[in-house]
Amino acid sequence: MMDWAEKYRPQHLQDIVGNTTAVREMAEWARTWTRDAKPLILYGKPGIGKTTAAYALANDMQWEVVEMNASDQRTRAIIERIAGSSSTTASLTGARRKLIILDEADNLHGSADRGGARAIIDLINNSRQPILLIANDLYGIPKELKKLCEPIQFRALQARSIVPRLRHICAAEDIRCDDDAVLASIAEASGGDMRAAINMLCAAGIGSPVLTERDVATGQKDERSTIFDLISGIFRGKQDAGLMQLSREVSDTPDTVEQWIGANLRHIGDLRSRAEAYRWLARADEFVGLTYRRQYYTLWRYATALMLLGTASAAGGGGLKGRIAPPSRWQSMAGGRRQKMIRTSVLTKLSSRLHIPQTTLREDFLTPISLMVDGDPEYFVEHLDLDQEELNFFLHDRERAKSIITAMAKSKREMEKRSKTSTAAQEVEQDPVDAEEKEKPAAARENQATLFDGF
């Protein structure tokens, strides 16, 4: 018996659920592929179709697949032996091309994979075959590698687009499911992860010809209470023992519960009481932090007790004013982590260019450098090889960063095109207006003391 996620893996791009833009871009890339085309990086959360899309693409194009991943020892030698040969030699089976799929490209840092990134870069530079990289986290991919590739983002799937797929599998497996709410709750619980959803369905459906809410409840989410019960219990003055019991039934970890409580402290009207609640939430937060930093999970219970009882004590059973809000911080939290990675990447680049330690840069130089970037963004994009996010780090203006990067990419493409056409047909004259326009910023730069001269 096969794993259902494997068994029902879509074979063609058109069968893939969700991520239509990404899939279209992939098909377009494959259709117009030449040796000069950049490899693609497919990135996004687990279980949303990256690997599936890669295989489906190969299938649609009738390309052979050579796949490698982190559980192969990704040392230089092996990459060169396996992928190197397939990339430069012609295919034996007569298929037109070979698609080289490098899975877990964000996982190259382990010491066992030393030299792996370098080998992949060499491979990309020498390959005569199309290459796809797959990763969960775009920022986990070494910069030099990312630079050579075109990123395509895969997004978590909507619960409503997961349901039809589950229904299809039920039909194929002869499982009766009269209640769509059951499938909807599986889809909801999967968090947009198709594979998790199918696994849950499998866990619930195996051995039971009729699927009911009860099967689902035991298959995955076997908690009897939800975070909403817990939050409402805290503010409505539930007794201590009841709160502690609820927190055991809710499967969320203390750090998640903490976010939920934080997002709902506005239900405490009185400022003094709200400050009191924050005091205990902050204390709980200390214990959450210590738990992770020290890997000493006993401390979790203090975090839980303090955030529940501390907030309940401050709220004084005042109840809820309005609905329970999910932590709005979630999005900005993910954003915060991202922001940190962008900052690190910018500082690494600056530090190696300027020979100044990163901490010094951060403390003393960021403001002046930001001002200089603001004055001549193109120059810095060029010299520091900044992407849009990194440029925005200096400019704090998303729109402007985007338009600068787009314009630069466009003019670069045009230049490449022009240099190709001019070599092909040297007779063709350059457009005088265009040439003049390009000259201007270059001239302006000459009179400007640049950052790199200065240091």
């Binding site: 794993d3 959360k45 999970y297």
Partner: protein
């Protein structure tokens, strides 16, 4: 077999899924895997001593019958951690086909949360590549320590701590077979120290049985180096009265005369305090002090001073609260 050399948790480990105490719903799901002959990868999460390993072994026995030992392998990730274990040992087992007509093997990886993220990343692919030959059952205390891509590949079962009645039932069963007499007080003591952990309960029972066939409450507390709940309740009351000397006296009696481990004592005070009907303001203050002391002890601070300081802080908080009223 020489009885003095058998560990009871092994001797009385349920052989069949149906014999398991508690986790009824999970058992029901696992049995239906056996009936249908198919199995996805599984992830068992939950605290120690509540049946994760037992469930995995019993599942393998029922799946494979006589050939279960050939087709089932148990690895403990915290013994043999690291990326190379996954790459070599696990792959070695996973890639060879199942024996005795079975369709696949089962690899049980206990304490999978001890694997480094690197090793987990390697494991994730192995799981997928060898899914034809081998199903994985991973077990861990905290699913948050398992990387997302693996969670995405498994059906997740959250084992809950056993309730007191389930623990008592199993203890009664074993006591019956061993011909022991367990007093009501002893049973209460066993349930109290177990906190839903069957392993603790059975070990305490076996420990006490070595001393005598008639098992009493004090024996259980003695053998497990645990204070009686009444003693802890007394300590909490003394703290709330604001009597530091008195609290210190109880502390010394428990740690110096009875040899209780300070972190076990903190654990007991914590449980008593959380369930105590005192005012919440004092309660959270006390829990905060307990947590601080627990953390400092774990960092290697000296236990005498930390425990006394903790009591002093608790007494102070109780005082402050009383003055506020």
């Amino acid at each position: 077999m020489d009885d003095t050399h058998t560990i009871w948790i092994e001797k009385y480990r349920p052989v069949q899924l149906a014999d398991m105490v508690g986790q009824k719903e999970i058992v029901r799901r696992l049995q239906s895997y056996v009936r249908s002959g198919s199995l996805p990868h599984l992830l068992f999460t939950g605290p120690a001593g509540i049946g994760k390993t037992t469930a995995a072994v019993a599942l393998a026995r029922e799946f494979f019958g006589d050939t279960w030992q050939m087709n089932f392998r148990e690895l403990n990730a915290s013994d043999e951690r690291g990326i190379d274990v996954v790459r070599n040992q696990i792959k070695q087992f996973a890639r060879t086909s199942a024996l005795g007509g079975a369709e696949f093997k089962i690899l049980f990886l206990d304490e999978a949360d001890a694997l480094t993220p690197d090793a987990q990343a390697a494991l994730r692919r192995t799981m997928e590549n060898f899914a034809q030959n081998c199903r994985f059952i991973l077990s861990c205390n905290y699913s948050s320590k398992i990387i997302d891509p693996i969670q995405s590949r498994c059906a997740i079962y959250r084992f809950k701590p056993l309730d007191d009645e389930a623990v008592a039932e199993e203890v009664r069963r074993i006591a019956g077979k061993e011909g022991l007499e367990v007093s009501d007080e002893a049973m209460r003591a066993i349930v109290y120290i177990a906190q839903g952990d069957m392993r603790k309960a059975i070990n305490a029972l076996q420990g006490a049985a070595i001393i005598s066939r008639a098992i009493t409450g004090p024996m259980i507390y003695e053998i497990t180096s645990t204070a009686r709940p009444e003693e802890i309740a007394e300590l909490v009351d003394i703290i709330l009265e604001g009597d530091f000397e008195g609290a210190e006296g109880v502390l010394h009696r428990l740690t110096r005369e009875r040899g209780l481990a300070p972190n076990e004592l903190i654990n007991q005070i914590y449980r008593a305090a959380v369930n105590h009907p005192m005012d919440r303001k004092v309660k959270v203050a006390i829990i905060s002090h307990l947590g601080e002391a627990d953390f400092r002890l774990s960092e290697g601070a000296s236990s005498d001073i930390q425990m006394e300081a903790m009591l002093a802080q608790c007494v102070l908080s109780a005082h402050a609260h009383r003055n506020n009223q």
